[in-house]
Point group: C2
Chain length 334, copies 2
Amino acid sequence: MRQAGRYLPEYNATRARLGSFMALAQDPDAACEVTLQPVNRFGLDAAILFSDILTVPDAMGLGLSFKPGVGPQFAHPVQSEEAVNSLYVPDPEDKLKYVTEAVRTIRRELDNKIPLIGFSGSPFTLACYMVEGGSSKDFSTIKKMMYARPDLLARILDINARAVTEYLNAQIKAGAQAVQIFDTWGGALADGCFDEFSLKYMRQIIDGLIRENEGEKVPVICFTKGGGMWLEAMAESGCDCVGLDWTANLGKARERTKDAVSLQGNLDPMVLFAGEEAIRREARRVIDSYGMVGAGGHVFNLGHGISQYTDPEAVAILVDEVHSYSRAKHQPTA
Amino acid sequence: MRQAGRYLPEYNATRARLGSFMALAQDPDAACEVTLQPVNRFGLDAAILFSDILTVPDAMGLGLSFKPGVGPQFAHPVQSEEAVNSLYVPDPEDKLKYVTEAVRTIRRELDNKIPLIGFSGSPFTLACYMVEGGSSKDFSTIKKMMYARPDLLARILDINARAVTEYLNAQIKAGAQAVQIFDTWGGALADGCFDEFSLKYMRQIIDGLIRENEGEKVPVICFTKGGGMWLEAMAESGCDCVGLDWTANLGKARERTKDAVSLQGNLDPMVLFAGEEAIRREARRVIDSYGMVGAGGHVFNLGHGISQYTDPEAVAILVDEVHSYSRAKHQPTA
């Protein structure tokens, strides 16, 4: 999940200086600055590139803007066959150069102390915003297309998959040491449709990714919010790690995936509002639910994004508990 | 799911005549009228009581109102120990008499042609609105209470469970021939929390319900939106039927529950926007996903509420396909 954000006063200061969210995301030095803010404040084990999941459709010329209180909006939503016909795979070293430039800057600043994780939205999640024109409560426009013109949606998803593959490979070439595919909305799909319209295209991306760079493996993390029921299929997608939201039980998820992948997650971000005792207790509960680390591995994380109203001190407590408890738990006995 | 609603012009006419949603819900004759509208229009196999899930906390004196564009709001949200202390189980034959009166009126009008299904919100779902004071995107207030003061939330949930038990029993005594417990928000809970804060109290209700009336069994249906992962536990709650949203596969759900309960669901309501061919195809897909009816049984339904923008003609096509396809499929061969 994104580490930087509005819950951090230093982030708000940088963002105010740049004027807008997109101006911040498109300025490599500023993106580097906010990427490192939570790393420095909390002593995290990995840095997560600060960017937005909608950079790719923006680079396709759909005209992204962020309206306060409304969220992302596209000036040119993709709702007709003509609009689909004019979609293209953007060159990541052209219109998305600000992202690869940010990756290079961050890697330089991190100086190999901790790894950097890059990311992109999944083809279906990008398509949700592209077709709906922004956020949606019921996804009526894209679902109407999916049920009535599955061929049309498939063409959008194929273009998105190729675009995301090139985008993530550009991030990897620039220095991202792991990449995450964020499927925020795949969980809104009906059974069967998830496989056909979301997972299939994540698989296409995974098949096309650079899996080794600088002599090191580049792990791929797949995360579908609300995708717990489809866990087995996600684990067979070719990814190295599956991210889970808080509705899943890590122990059961591990049994179901037979330690073939590592699991990432899955603290309910709302725990961060409940005070120190609850934060420490629930963090331990997540760690314990995974059990002892075996062939797979557990990446502790929130189950979804952090609320902008979170007290940074609560995050500091969480990081402290995760570090101390999991180190004690997994320390080899003398 | 509620059958009557804003997608029907005849419903809008009745509602306009009554002036507001609550005025409509609290007028037994008008509630009967809108309950029967979809039954008469579509030839449905059961009628669903027209009411609201928030009648119970309203009867507790929390002051329910509906603000256009905002949704339900409580004038007195339950956010302190004092507020919890003053909660009580309302007598359903006093402040909720308009509901039992509506049930009696509808039964009289239905004249035993088709059965009537009553319903209530689940204790946790009611608590969400009671504690948040209205709808919420992240449930931060109730989750903060849950993680920091689980004892306090447990007291609310126990009162809700007792209130819902009395309320549903009053519906049954008045003539409801099946009842559904609607857990709209249980799916927002973390693994473990669902069992402790939602399912436990649905079980408490089921244990206290009248299960036979007028010499007939009164089936209990449990529905948790987004609860597909906890299906086994729900099937062991003592209910007769588990409702599923569209993310579940009915065939797999049936294997997991070993035909111990019947299953209800689960067409994506957005299919109704995609035209006749898609509606008929997806309806058949849902019926086929269940397989041949065995010990359990399948109640065809939408996976969640119908959109207010649905064309009534789309519903007519759906009902026609469900009737003709499932009758042909399950007809004993000569």
